[in-house]
C-alpha cells in the first residue's frame, strides 16, 4: 500500500530520457471521490479502504525456527550474506527455509546437493564448513566457485544457491527497494517516446 505522505505530488521520477509524475494519496483520493459521486457505492469507495489498510506481514521472521534446513540453516545464512550482502537483514535464510519446507523432493534435493558441494569444497580447502570461514576465506572460496569452469558442478551448485538467495532477497522489502520500488503505486502518466521517429 502507498506509504507516501499526504503532501501534494511527490515529484518526478527520473527514468532515463522519460519523466513520469506520480500521484499523491490526497490527489488520488480526491479524484476517486469525484469519480464515484455518481456511483452507487459513493461514500464507501473501496479506494479508501485500500489506501488506508495495511496488509499482512512476513511469516519468516528473525526468530525463525528452521522447518527444513535445520542443521544446514546456519550455512545458508552465511552463504546468503556473503553472496548478497544484506541478506541477513532481509531474512533471506528463513524465507528460503520456508519455501523449501513446502517444495517438492526433487527441488529440495537439488538445493541440498548444491549446498553440500559448496561445503565439501570449503572443507577440502580450509578444513572447515562455510559458516565457520573467516571473511577472507569465504571470499576466496566464492571467488573460486563463481569462476569455476562452465558446466562444472561447482559452478552450477553456486548458481543454484545464488538463484535461491537472489530470488529471496529481491522479493523482500529491502531487496525490492534496491531495485527501485518505492511503495508508490499511482502514476499520472506513462513515459512516451521523444525520438524524432515517433512522429513518422
Amino acid at each position: 500500500m502507498p506509504e507516501n505522505s499526504d503532501a501534494s505530488p511527490i515529484g518526478t521520477k527520473s527514468h532515463t530520457s522519460f519523466s513520469t509524475e506520480v500521484i499523491s494519496r490526497r490527489e488520488l483520493s480526491t479524484r476517486l471521490l469525484g469519480l464515484t459521486a455518481a456511483f452507487s457505492l459513493a461514500g464507501s469507495h473501496p479506494a479508501w479502504g485500500s489506501l488506508l489498510a495495511s496488509t499482512g506481514s512476513d511469516v519468516a521472521d528473525a526468530n525463525w525456527k528452521p522447518l527444513f534446513l535445520r542443521a544446514n540453516y546456519e550455512a545458508v545464512q552465511s552463504l546468503a550474506e556473503a553472496i548478497i550482502p544484506g541478506s541477513t537483514n532481509a531474512l533471506v535464510a528463513p524465507f528460503i527455509d520456508l519455501l523449501l519446507s513446502v517444495d517438492n523432493p526433487a527441488r529440495q534435493n537439488r538445493f541440498l546437493e548444491a549446498l553440500s558441494a559448496i561445503q565439501t569444497e570449503s572443507n577440502r580447502r580450509f578444513d572447515t564448513p562455510f559458516q565457520k570461514l573467516s571473511p577472507t576465506q569465504s571470499d576466496s572460496l566464492l571467488a573460486m566457485v563463481s569462476t569455476a569452469p562452465e558446466g562444472s558442478s561447482l559452478l552450477s551448485s553456486f548458481e543454484e544457491l545464488r538463484r535461491w538467495i537472489a530470488d529471496a532477497y529481491y522479493s523482500s522489502e529491502p531487496g525490492m527497494m534496491e531495485l527501485g520500488w518505492t511503495h508508490n503505486m499511482f502514476f499520472r502518466s506513462l513515459p512516451s517516446c521523444t525520438l524524432p521517429e515517433a512522429n513518422l
Binding site: 511469516v59 520456508l98 531495485l179 527501485g180 502514476f187 513515459p191
Partner: protein, 564 residues
C-alpha cells in the same frame, strides 16, 4: 446470496447462467429494459476487498514463489498466466471439478474462475474487432460453416460495447482490422516505435498498440488507469473492464436482477409437452443441495465448455443427444487459438535503467494479420491467419555473474528485449469435441466432460510460419541474439475456447441461429462463445459481448411480439 423459498418459486423473465463477459451484458441489457432477471453464478461473490494489485510480494506468505503449494488443489489452473498466490482462490479447485481428456490428447482447461465476473476478472483485456474477411473465411476456403451474420450487423454493437467498457487504442484505418471506438491510446515506447516503423517500411505490416479495455479517461464513475501494473489482481480505480463493477453492478442496481452465487448450474429443465425450457437446476456449492429456479427464457453464458456441458447433461427422451442437438453437432467443432510460438530478440541500444518503481503500461503491442488477407494469394501451407501480440521489456540482468557488490551492480545492466508471439485461428474440426464422461462426476455430483482436442496439420504449419515471420521482423528491426520459440509438445491453450454449439443458417448443421437462439428450443439461448462457427485470430471477448448484446435486443423484440 442464496434464493429464499419465495424467490425459488418465482418465475423470472430470464435466467442467465454465468456472470462473465456475456452473462454480465445479458443481465444489464435485459434488466435495465425492465425484465426480471436472475443470474446463477457458480463462483463466490467478488468485491474490491479481494483485489490485491497494490500488495507487494513480500506481504505474501510465499511471495508467489511456491508453486508446489498448488500442486494438489490447482495443478491445472496454476498454468494460466494470471494465476498467482494472490488470487489462487479465484480459480476452481481442480480436484473438486475435474475433467478428462482423450488418450494422447492432453488439454489444459485454464481460467476456470469461480467468482462473480468469471474470467473477466483475469482477462488480458485485448479488444479487437473481427472483420468480414475472417467471418466469411469458410465460404472462401470451404472449411467449416460461415458466420450467419456480417460485420455490418455487429458494428453498431461493437460501438455500443466499446463505448461502455472503455477501450483505448490507435485507429489504423485497415480493412482487415476494423478500428473501434477508442479512448486516447497509451503511448508506445521508443523501441516499439522503432519496431513499428522498421516493420512497416520493410514489409508493409502494421504494428499497433493492443486495443485494450483499460481506461485512459474516466468513464461512468470509473477512474483512468494509474499504471500500477497487475490488472489481473483487480483494480481499485475500476479502470479495466470487469463485470463485477460494471455490467453486473448495473444489472443489480436496476432493481430487476437477482444474483445468486455459489450456484453450480447442472441442467436446463424442460417442459416436454411444449418443448420449452422452464428453468435450471443447480447445486448449491455450500450445502450441495439441488435447487431449481424457473424462468420464461434461459440464457447460458457459462463459458464454452461449461455451457455445452450443461446442454449435454440436460438430455431428455425428446433430446437424447443433449438439448437442441438434432443436428448432432453439439459438442463438436471445438476451437481455441494457437498461442505458443514466436520469437524474441535483444535491443541493447534502447537500454534504460531498469526499475521496479516506475509506471507499468497494462498493454502490449499487436501486429495486424498479414497472411491470407484480402488481396493476397492464399498460402499453400495453411488456411486462415494469425496476429502477433508482443511487448518490449527492460529487465534486470538476472543472468549476471559473480557475487556480493559486483553481482548487485551487474544486476542493474539493462536487458532490453522485444518478444512477439502468434495468436492464430484453429480450424473447426468435427473430431475436436467434448462429450460427457459418464464415469466421472465432480464434487457436486455433476458428470464432467471429456475433451478430445488436438492440433492438425494446419495449426502446425501456421505455427512454423509464426516463428519464421517473427524472426524475420525482429531481424529487420535490428534485433540481436534472436531466439526462436517453436510450438511446444503440449501446446498452451489460452482462455479462448469457442464453438461446439455453433450458430448457422442451416439447422441441420448448427445448434443456434444468428441470435444465439436454439433452432429447436425457442426460449433457449447460448450467448457465450459456444455459438462461434469459427474462432478468428483476435481475442474473442469483445465479440462475445457484441454478439450477446445483439442477441439480447432480438430477444426483447421477440418477447414484445409474443414470439417467445
Amino acid at each position: 446470496m442464496n434464493l429464499s423459498t419465495n424467490q425459488a418459486q418465482q418465475t423470472y423473465d430470464v435466467l442467465i447462467v454465468g456472470s462473465g463477459a456475456s452473462g454480465g451484458w445479458a443481465a444489464k441489457r435485459l434488466s435495465e429494459a425492465g425484465l426480471k432477471v436472475a443470474i446463477l453464478e457458480a463462483g463466490r461473490p467478488q468485491s474490491s476487498a479481494n483485489f490485491s494489485e497494490h500488495t507487494p510480494k513480500f506481504k505474501l506468505k510465499y511471495r508467489n514463489m511456491a508453486p508446489e503449494i498448488f500442486s494438489k488443489s490447482r495443478p491445472i489452473q496454476s498454468k494460466v498466466y494470471a494465476f498467482s498466490e494472490y488470487t489462487a482462490n479465484w480459480y476452481c479447485d481442480d480436484s473438486e471439478e475435474p475433467y478428462t481428456t482423450a488418450p494422447g490428447k492432453p488439454y489444459n482447461w485454464l481460467g476456470r474462475t469461480r467468482v462473480v465476473g468469471g474470467r473477466m476478472n483475469i482477462w488480458g483485456r485485448i479488444c479487437i474487432r473481427y472483420s468480414d474477411w475472417e467471418m466469411e473465411a469458410p465460404s472462401r476456403d470451404g472449411y467449416g460453416e460461415p458466420w450467419p451474420l456480417e460485420y455490418k450487423d455487429l458494428a453498431p454493437y461493437y460501438d455500443l460495447v466499446e463505448r461502455y467498457i472503455g477501450v483505448n487504442g490507435m485507429a489504423e484505418g485497415l480493412e482487415e482490422r476494423p478500428d473501434g471506438v477508442y479512448q486516447p491510446p497509451f503511448p508506445l515506447t521508443c523501441l516499439e516505435t522503432h519496431f513499428r516503423n522498421r516493420v512497416k517500411q520493410k514489409f508493409g505490416r502494421t504494428t499497433t498498440l493492443q486495443p485494450t479495455a483499460v481506461l485512459t479517461q474516466s468513464l461512468n464513475g470509473r477512474g483512468a488507469c494509474h499504471y500500477c501494473g497487475p490488472c489481473e489482481r483487480g483494480c481499485m480505480t475500476r479502470s479495466y473492464f470487469n463485470p463485477v463493477f460494471t455490467t453486473v453492478a448495473d444489472a443489480v442496481l436496476s432493481g430487476n436482477c437477482t444474483l445468486t452465487t455459489n450456484a453450480m448450474a447442472y441442467q436446463v429443465l424442460m417442459d416436454p409437452d411444449r418443448n420449452r425450457a422452464r428453468g435450471v437446476s443447480y447445486i448449491d456449492r455450500n450445502t450441495k443441495e439441488t435447487r431449481e429456479i424457473n424462468g420464461r427464457v434461459v440464457i447460458l453464458c457459462a463459458q464454452t465448455q461449461e455451457s455445452v456441458r450443461i446442454l449435454l447433461n440436460s438430455a431428455t427422451p425428446q433430446h437424447p443427444g443433449g438439448l437442441a442437438n438434432a443436428s448432432g453437432v453439439l459438442g463438436h467443432y471445438f476451437t481455441n487459438h494457437i498461442a505458443n510460438s514466436g520469437a524474441s530478440g535483444e535491443f541493447p541500444e534502447f537500454g534504460a535503467k531498469p526499475s521496479l518503481g516506475g509506471p507499468v503500461r497494462p498493454a502490449g503491442v499487436y501486429i495486424v494479420p498479414f497472411r491470407n488477407i484480402k488481396g493476397q494469394a492464399p498460402r499453400k501451407d495453411f488456411l486462415r491467419t494469425y496476429g502477433y501480440e508482443g511487448y518490449a521489456s527492460v529487465d534486470f540482468n538476472w543472468s549476471a555473474h559473480g557475487y556480493s557488490e559486483a553481482y548487485k551492480k551487474a544486476l542493474h545492466t539493462p536487458q532490453v528485449a522485444f518478444s512477439i508471439g502468434g495468436w492464430g485461428e484453429t480450424l473447426p474440426r468435427f473430431d475436436n469435441f467434448v462429450e460427457i464422461d459418464s464415469t466421472v462426476k465432480d464434487a457436486y455430483g455433476i458428470p464432467v466432460i471429456k475433451i478430445h482436442m488436438s492440433d492438425g496439420e494446419n495449426e502446425d504449419a501456421m505455427s512454423i510460419d509464426v516463428v519464421e515471420s517473427a524472426a524475420e521482423m525482429l531481424d529487420a528491426a535490428g534485433a540481436k541474439n534472436i531466439r526462436l520459440h517453436p510450438k511446444p509438445a503440449i501446446p498452451y491453450r489460452p482462455n479462448h475456447e469457442a464453438g461446439m454449439a455453433r450458430m448457422g443458417s442451416d439447422p441441420k448443421k448448427s445448434i443456434l441461429n444468428q441470435y444465439q437462439q436454439a433452432h429447436e428450443i425457442q426460449n433457449l439461448f447460448v450467448m457465450d462463445a459456444s455459438g462461434f462457427p469459427t474462432n478468428p485470430s483476435p481475442n474473442p471477448a469483445l465479440t462475445i459481448m457484441a454478439v450477446c448484446v445483439r442477441s439480447c435486443d432480438y430477444l426483447m423484440e421477440e418477447l414484445k411480439r409474443g414470439e417467445i
